[in-house]
Symmetry: C2
């Protein structure tokens, strides 16, 4: 049962918007992801969406107002709320979602979740 070193896991890949599963927790995938640029507007009807910034900065755009996050800051997008994350420079995030949740809100366009 090894510890998960998030920086080490993040050092193993360089692509953006492609979460990697680092462990599991109560039916949820715990993931790291590198992001840069704008994602896409989407929503998750059945799950809240957990973001913790590990490095860099992101803005979670929402119709209700934007939330800016830096290192050590987290935000939970409530289920059903449309959002679109954007990062001007590369940022590193910890994400937690129920296992199998499509990152785009849509299985057809979702990134595959590799386990590392």
């Amino acid at each position: 049962m090894p510890a998960v070193n998030l920086a080490q896991k993040l050092s193993t890949f360089s692509d953006h918007w492609a979460p990697r599963v680092v462990t599991e927790f109560n039916g949820h995938d715990v993931m790291v992801v590198k992001v840069k640029g704008e994602f896409r507007w989407h929503q998750h009807d059945d799950t809240d969406d957990f973001f913790l910034v590990l490095r860099g900065r992101i803005t979670i755009q929402m119709h209700e107002g934007n939330v800016d996050l830096g290192p050590g800051e987290l935000f939970v997008v409530p289920k059903g709320v449309q959002h679109c994350p954007v990062a001007i420079e590369e940022a590193h995030l910890l994400l937690i979602e129920p296992r199998g949740t499509p990152n785009t809100g849509d299985q057809a366009t979702a990134a595959t979740r590799a386990v590392i």
Copy 2:
């Protein structure tokens, strides 16, 4: 919908082994806690136990073997596994557990979870 700054939340209290809820996520409490010294041996029969170290170092003692964690390292104690966290110096953690989970594994001895 404000961002949660974990360091700011941690600056608002100084007691040990008394988690504060900073937000909620899919029926789970997201908490910060300051720890120092040895907690107690316990287990959670129905939930995994999520630890992410934000500052300092902890050891999660388990009969199956110990896990040492530093900043940016996380570990999930599987449900049913007896464990006892210990920190030689003060450490700051992010914890995630189903809402209402007693931190000792026992409602009678559990710390109250204040929301900050």
